[in-house]
Symmetry: C2
Subunit: 136 residues, 2 copies
Amino acid sequence: MSYEIEQLLNKHGVKPTPQRAVIAEYLMSTMSHPTADEVFQAVENKLPVSLSRATVYNTLNTLVEKGVIREVVTEAGKARYDANISDHHHFVDLETGQVMDVPLEEIGNLPIIQPKFMDGSFEVQNFQITFFGKRK
Amino acid sequence: MSYEIEQLLNKHGVKPTPQRAVIAEYLMSTMSHPTADEVFQAVENKLPVSLSRATVYNTLNTLVEKGVIREVVTEAGKARYDANISDHHHFVDLETGQVMDVPLEEIGNLPIIQPKFMDGSFEVQNFQITFFGKRK
DNA sequence: TATGTATTTAGACTAATTCTAATCCGAGAA
DNA sequence: TTCTCGGATTAGAATTAGTCTAAATACATA
């Protein structure tokens, strides 16, 4: 397991194991916002032992809880995962389902939204903008 | 079936049936963004015949396709439905899971976001902001 | 009344995810 | 070194959300 991945997991309080390492490594390597099943298929042959789907789900949940990755929900029915934890938003191509990162720069001088929500009785911790559209 | 619901369905090209009417009526009556199962439970006894879950799913999909209601996805694993089709966004209470409407007024003078996305090779049709937080 | 099309139904099926119980592994303790 | 204990992993069962199928039903119109 690469030193960088080991460091990354340790830094977030996640004990590095071979399974967690290949999953995290795969997520770092792709911009495709894979589903749990796509992660499973991408890494199942990268280990000397068989990999259980339960481990993939456990690991993804752990990595999200510990802040190593983000869960992205753009469509009903399944979750996607994103190793880019910098502040950004998402674009969904309605024709292909492809999910792409939208860096803050891309959306111009959008002010930080601080909604005074419900007469101030709720506190907004963060927000997520999802753009929907298609290739021109 | 109420005249207003019948009108609403007709206006959107949906043939009014008793099943569709009670489902649409329930959605108009609540701000709770129910899931398909919550809709089923809320209306199953409001008809003289038994109601099939398939009918609830069929109806919700039809109503979304015809623009009578909106599908709202805020968490992985299930869809929610919203009869408020005016332009607005959503707030999710992370402690209760409750989903609330955020009218445009609530978020101040947010400019219409027209991201120049990926060097203009994608066309944004619409976007959805989801706020996450909790009660103060 | 006959017919055709859309709608509804129950239940089978599928997909995504979680749960369970057994096994495995590795870091200290003896 | 061997023991032990807790966390991690495994295969497969179970659960949940949603779709599909085939048969029955309900209408609208000829």
